[in-house]
Amino acid sequence: MNKPRILVVEDETDIRRFLRLALEREDMTVFEAGDALQARIDAASRQPDLIVLDLGLPDDDGKAVIRDVRGWSSAPIIVLSARESEAEKVAALESGADDYLVKPFGVPELVARVRAQLRRASLAGARGQASAIVRFGDIEVNLATHEVARGSEAVHLTPIEFRLLATLVRGQGKVLTHRQLLIDVWGPGHASRSHYVRVYMANLRQKLEEQPARPRHLVTELQVGYRLAGIVESS
């Protein structure tokens, strides 16, 4: 398998350097860009498999770069955000980013996120359509028959609970914002009722998580949205 090609867009030299070192150690090819202009050029010419992008670039808004790249590329984009504002992260995700990391972050965290996104992209590229049966932890979800099982026991989900779970499963570990979930599960009329998602996520956790307050799979990205972690690749 070819080395994954990663484009790192970050204006701080030291952070860029450590990102490069960390990713090269994981046997990846890294290209560096220091501003939005260079990022656009490299994204087109280097054809990266994944882009790590700092939102606070000196010459342009990071979200504008995301929108431009999304116009012609489906390579996963992981956003680096030093900003306090959750709205900023939500806006980046809704512009087309796939995940985000809040500064400061650790190397293991970075590598895990990058690997997860690369795996997600290769799965989507290889089969086009994900398999009907998805597993995470001891949970098995059959997207075709709407059956959910925990261990050997069947779990009963209401239609909305299942739609919510299925949306998260299809997201393949991508962070889905409240708005995206509301539109997918309830329809565009409910886009601003984020407490709906909270109530139904709480129900899902009660049914699927061992410790609902310390979820391992139905992960809360506070003020941003939710993500399904730990999906096992079906053989």
Partner: protein, 493 residues
């Protein structure tokens, strides 16, 4: 609507105009006598008609009518044969008299009406001019002082008195050091009704107090002092009413100009503060990210791990400091949304490195949603969990319990560590920069708990600490549950 005496005193009739009318007829008779030497009698009639018209034009309707009668009588007495007598020899003249009387009356009345209209138009023009002048002056007034000066110098003379503007302070009270009777002014302001001389309320007072009312509210009081002057005439009353509206609008405009200005200043201040905060935040996190990242590259060594831990700690201090600055600045806006408490606890647990410590979470699934600012509240929980890890050994257990009774929601964070040192005032821990022991080896400046208290109190809740038996520390957070928004229930399928 300006309730003010509606009776309009009519101009008193002046009897001397009748004397003038008779005098004018006498003068005309003299002229006619002279003219008669040259002209025919029928021409002289015209001179009388002219006189009647002029009298009516100059002195009004009644004078004109009297002049008409007197003119006909004079003509008969002095000129129609037999002269010096009201007798008439030629009956032709009776017809002349009748015709002359009718023509004189009609032209007289027409002329009088013409005059009345001219007078009215002139008064209207004067009023319009006065209003226009005052309105122009008011339109460029940018402060209450400008309006007060216009009242004093422009409006006062127009109403033959002294006009003073009384404005309430910010507390909606009339300043007691001001002019006039503060009590009456306050009453007028609150009731929006006139008082004082010439009104139904306290008419014995020497001054009249009029409310300056806009559609929204009464913004001030106009005090009118006229001493022994005549009551206001119709024209002045009309003017006064117009001035009341104009002044009220001007005061309201000045008020809103001030409000807009203050809002702008506030917005500017907030924008500057936010820009500063995000710049500081960025400038502190960038080196932290680099340090933490580089340390991560050093592998699993103890030194590298220590650097990572310290960088994390520093990061939390930066977060606390930024929160503190944000909360300290006036008018902090909480981003209130309805959240599930277990979600916040889970998120805060995930954000705190707890080491090998056990965590027992007991949050009932049926706990209602609670309205809070998730980012800030998560910081409270992270501070509590971080404290627990700082002050307990690595094998301690953390208990997180929640429940609700009535309108209160209680969250309790306990540990079974050594607890607070004996003899210290536990509640004083929440004071700024307080710590359990001075110069302790455990890092931190004691910002965490005071900040947590401020955040919880900003949510209308309370936080307290207590000792846990047999050993350990216990923190309780009480929040109001409020009225969670409805969620449409679906039919279980």
């Amino acid at each position: 609507m300006i309730p003010y005496p509606a009776h309009i005193p009519s101009r008193p009739f002046q009897y001397r105009v009748l004397v003038y009318a008779v005098a004018a007829c006498a003068f005309t008779t003299g002229i006619a006598a002279l003219l008669l030497r040259v002209f025919d009698l029928s021409n002289v009639v015209m001179v009388f008609l002219l006189t009647v018209m002029l009298v009516a034009l100059r002195w009004g309707r009644a004078a004109g009518a009297l002049a008409a009668v007197v003119a006909v009588a004079s003509f008969d007495f002095f000129f129609v044969p037999p002269v010096w007598s009201f007798h008439v020899s030629d009956t032709q003249y009776l017809f002349t008299f009748l015709l002359m009387l009718v023509v004189a009356l009609i032209t007289g009345q027409l002329a009088a009406r013409l005059r009345a209209e001219a007078v009215g138009a002139a008064a209207g023009e004067r009023r319009a001019n006065a209003l226009a002048t005052v309105a122009t002056d008011l339109s460029v007034a940018v402060q209450d002082e400008d309006i007060a000066r216009i009242c004093d110098t422009r409006i006062g003379p127009l109403l033959d008195g002294k006009v003073t503007l009384l404005l309430p302070g910010r507390d909606e009270r009339m300043p007691s050091s001001g002019h006039g009777d503060t009590g009456i002014a306050q009453w007028v302001l609150e009731e929006g009704l006139p008082a004082g001389r010439g009104t139904e309320t306290l008419p014995a007072n020497s001054a009249t107090y009029l409310p300056l009312t806009t559609p929204l509210r009464t913004r001030g009081v106009l005090m009118l002092e006229r001493g022994a002057a005549q009551p206001l005439d119709a024209e002045q009353l009309g003017l006064l009413r117009a001035f009341q509206s104009l002044l009220a609008l001007a005061i309201e405009r000045v008020h809103f100009v001030e409000v807009a200005h203050e809002t702008q200043l506030h917005v500017e201040g907030e924008r500057l503060r936010n820009a500063l905060l995000s710049a500081v935040s960025h400038d502190m996190r960038t080196p932290l990210t680099a340090i933490r990242g580089m340390a991560g590259m050093l592998g699993e060594s103890e030194v590298a791990q220590a650097i990572v831990n310290q960088a994390d700690r520093m990061q939390r201090q930066v977060t606390n400091l930024l929160d503190a600055v944000r909360l300290q600045s006036e008018g902090v806006r909480l981003d209130l949304q309805w959240h599930a408490l277990d979600e916040l606890v889970g998120s805060a647990l995930a954000a705190t490195p707890l080491g090998a410590r056990q965590v027992v979470v007991d949050i009932p699934a049926e706990l209602p949603l609670v309205e809070l600012d998730a980012t800030l509240f998560e910081h409270v929980l992270v501070n509590l969990f971080d404290n627990a890890t700082k002050y307990t050994p690595g094998d301690a257990t953390l208990y997180i319990r929640a429940g609700h009774t009535g309108s209160k929601l209680r969250l309790r964070v306990e540990d079974d560590g050594p607890g607070f040192p004996p003899g210290i005032d536990i509640q004083a821990l929440f004071a700024e920069f307080a710590r359990g022991t001075r110069e302790s080896a455990v890092p931190g400046v004691g910002l965490g708990l005071s900040l947590s208290r401020r955040i919880v109190e900003a949510h209308g809740g309370s936080i307290s600490a207590s000792r846990r038996e047999p050993h350990g520390a216990c923190f309780d957070i009480l929040l109001a549950t409020g009225e969670p928004p409805a969620v449409d229930l679906e039919d279980p399928a």
